[in-house]
Amino acid sequence: MATSIQNISLSGKKKQVSNKEMTFWERLYLVAIIKGLLITIKHFFRKKATIHYPEQVREFSPVYRGKHTLKRDEQGRENCTACGLCALTCPAEAITMKAAERKKGEEHLYREEKYAEIYEINMLRCIFCGLCEEACPKDAIYLTISKELVPAQYDREDFIYGKDKLVMPLEVAMANTQKLN
């Protein structure tokens, strides 16, 4: 028989609907219930899909945008020069900062002559779009390298992340430098 267009099943799941009378056993409904019970009990012993979040973390994709990091260069100095382009480009207006001038003797801390004295991101406002990352001329802010989520908190104040939470820890910067050499 020539296969008409109605009989083709690309997924292999197509089922012909029939309006035939149900048999006695089908009408009893009990067989169907037992079949259903067997299906559900199979799921009881199946491996669970849950990832136990705080203890177990799902692997991030290389481009996943999570918590921001303010980067240090290979000598451990902060890249950020507080130009404010990230704050300007931020569509959610989540970033604020206050610039300060680098004093003598602070050359090992800050790369440029101007640096961010205060740098705050309100994580409740942030939409993790990554525009700050794109706008940054100094290669300072990244959402992809921390590989962390912003965890839940009880107070709104706790979502305002300052430099203490954002700047890349020195140990990480040192490890990165060692990897380069």
């Binding site: 009990l30 219930i33 259903g36 019970l37 299906i39 559900t40 009881f44 669970k48 899909a49 136990h52």
Partner: protein, 343 residues
Amino acid sequence: MDSALIIEKSIFIVVVFAVTMLMAMYSTWAERKVAAFLQDRVGPNRAGWGGLLQPLADGLKLFAKEEFEPNTPNKFLFFVGPGIAMATALITSAVIPWGDKLELFGRTIQLQATDIDVSILYVFGVVSVGVYGIMIGGWASNNKFSLMGAVRAASQMVSYEVAMGLSIIALLMMSGSLSLHDITVQQHGMNWNIWYQPVGFLIFLICAFAETNRTPFDLAECESELIGGYHTEYSSMKMGFYLFAEYANMFISSTLISVLYFGGYNYPGMDWVGTNWGTNAATLLGIGALFAKICFFIFFYMWVRWTIPRFRYDQLMNLGWKILIPLSIINIMITGVCILAFK
């Protein structure tokens, strides 16, 4: 009546009460766990090992919640509703034989609060009073949805009680006694009633689902239509009482199914255990057997809940009046013929 008997019975009643409460508490935990496992999840696992302290946390939460009262003219009835639901759920356990005799301190203790010779009638009486808890609560809430849930619950329970009673009659014709103790003793070893009354068991099981307002017959509190049914307006521990009563009812009905059709505390090889290890060991194993059966049926309640979708109201009434009642009458007739022919 000597004072030792009174003390003995009091202690036993307190133990049964505590066990019922404990089972109801952990049924809530088991419900969530079973629901999760059947849906490929893991369920509560933060409070205690495997979430075992979850019921305590839930109870504490319910106690600490604000107690909201709707502006109802029936403040008293609003207050009484959950009480009735809870009380009726708890007093059914008085006539259930939890085990055989236990020999302690030179006394023979019958593990049954009271062995009245109309136990089944008593159970049915108490169960029908249970409707009042829901009805009064729904009525006094002064809320359309509550009232609708209450009316549904009442009509559902009344119509399924008929089929339930008729299915029990076939069993009573065989046992010749209304006492749950006698019925259990007659099912010695593996001589369980389920082998003789499979259809009666099926009817009783379906009716038990309807009586306890469990899915697929949970029309009284179906969330998708009635928000929460009769307990929509309840909060805090009053709400907790309703939920608790539901789980206590589930425990008691599982017990009744086990006692009536699955031999209660009887288990195969109980005579051998009795002669070789002593009466007490046999009795304790019997209690274990009864609780294993109860736990299975509680699990079955939850298993069915996540398998079968809710009935429509007309389907429910059709099933009750047009199928189960005629079926149970036919069952009675066949049982009568068989008794005449084989005894």
